[in-house]
Chain length 225, copies 2
């Protein structure tokens, strides 16, 4: 299936920098797919020859740790996936899986490289993106190790609200085990802390439905404990 990328309503800032010519090249060299929740987008250990554009939906990036699979990051559309692993290595170094229904476009690596070469502004934006990611990982590194569970949970909830869903009310796209994994804690602790936050009136929990009732408090918990 092939859409005309020039009319794609789901452009990232980078994509909007592309010349018509490059967009046409993209149109002729991508494979569009509709995915269901749980479908694999990139699989660690397989050959990586494509960059993936996440048009719609939500995905998790996970990687095989020494003992268990570890979720390192949530990504929502629109966004490019797999740049680090596709450029950095012949074999995928991590997995990406849809956690909601999603639409993705597979773009051949060479085509993507060519587009980078021909579009300075696009390249700048992609580099910006890398910079943002690296900064985020630095912050994450400092926060995760210095904060207690409640702080990290608060962070994660704020992240979902502000960065992923852009709303203070959302339904967690992960099970408690997965959420625990993302936050570097145990399933049981997630359950307990969620209940605590609810009891304290900071959030309202209803199954996986979460509503932030008192953002000030949540921020305080994030900063302190």
């Amino acid at each position: 299936m092939q859409n005309d990328c020039r009319n794609c309503p789901f452009k990232t800032k980078a994509t909007s920098m592309l010349s018509d010519c490059s967009l046409e090249q993209l149109s002729n060299n991508h494979l569009e797919l509709k995915l269901k929740k749980g479908d694999s987008i990139i699989k660690q250990g397989t050959y990586s020859t494509n960059v993936v554009f996440l048009r719609t939906g939500l995905a998790k990036i996970h990687i095989a740790g020494p003992y268990t699979e570890q979720i390192v990051k949530m990504v929502n559309a629109p966004s490019y996936l797999g740049l680090p692993t596709t450029f950095g290595s012949k074999i995928n170094q991590y997995s990406v899986t849809a956690v909601s229904d999603a639409e993705v476009c597979f773009i051949d690596l060479e085509v993507f490289q060519n587009i980078l070469d021909e579009n300075k502004e696009f390249t700048r934006e992609i580099i910006q993106e890398f910079c943002k990611n690296e900064l985020e990982s630095f912050h994450r590194c400092a926060n995760r190790t210095q904060k207690l569970i409640r702080g990290n949970m608060a962070d994660a909830i704020l992240d979902f609200a502000d960065k992923i869903f852009k709303s203070d009310s959302f339904t967690l796209p992960l099970s408690q085990s997965e959420f625990a994994n993302l936050v570097d804690t145990s399933r049981e602790s997630v359950s307990r802390v969620l209940a605590e936050f609810d009891k304290d009136g900071i959030i309202k929990v209803n199954g996986r439905q979460i509503e932030i009732l008192n953002k000030k408090s949540l921020l305080l918990v994030s900063q302190n404990g």
Copy 2:
């Protein structure tokens, strides 16, 4: 002070991709400095208008965490420093400090951007670098949270040997507190585990001088505990 970058013996792979023209531009637009151990290279919170090329020496990247300063990474020459923070933000989002005597070149951001624009191969290499960093941070994320202290210490020691010093014998460029901070543990644990490794004949510790005696064992500890 100004050297001719064309003759600089400390090029990264990326830098070696540059056209003579760009190298000349670089020569005319950089400030070279000799630094002493402990000198600040980039300071979190100040304005960031320069990319820094670490010509020689060793540096630590550290960032203000919620409670204390956190070392997130060690970098050795030759390498560019401050790309994420210089491109990603007007204000430096982290600090970089020399942990050994070092030589650095300050390059104006606009000059650097211009060089990126004009050198596709250079840009590719820089992007590769970003990719490698992001992959590393994913791995680090999974490892740090799943491993016990001994495993993480083993990792860090292997990292120093293989990536930083390229030798199984080296002197730690950090105090035990700093090392602890880098490995997400306490100073006391570092002292204890170092002593354990020594007692087990895995490494020989003599002050800050470390020699890996049994790399196999160290790798095992890294993988298991």
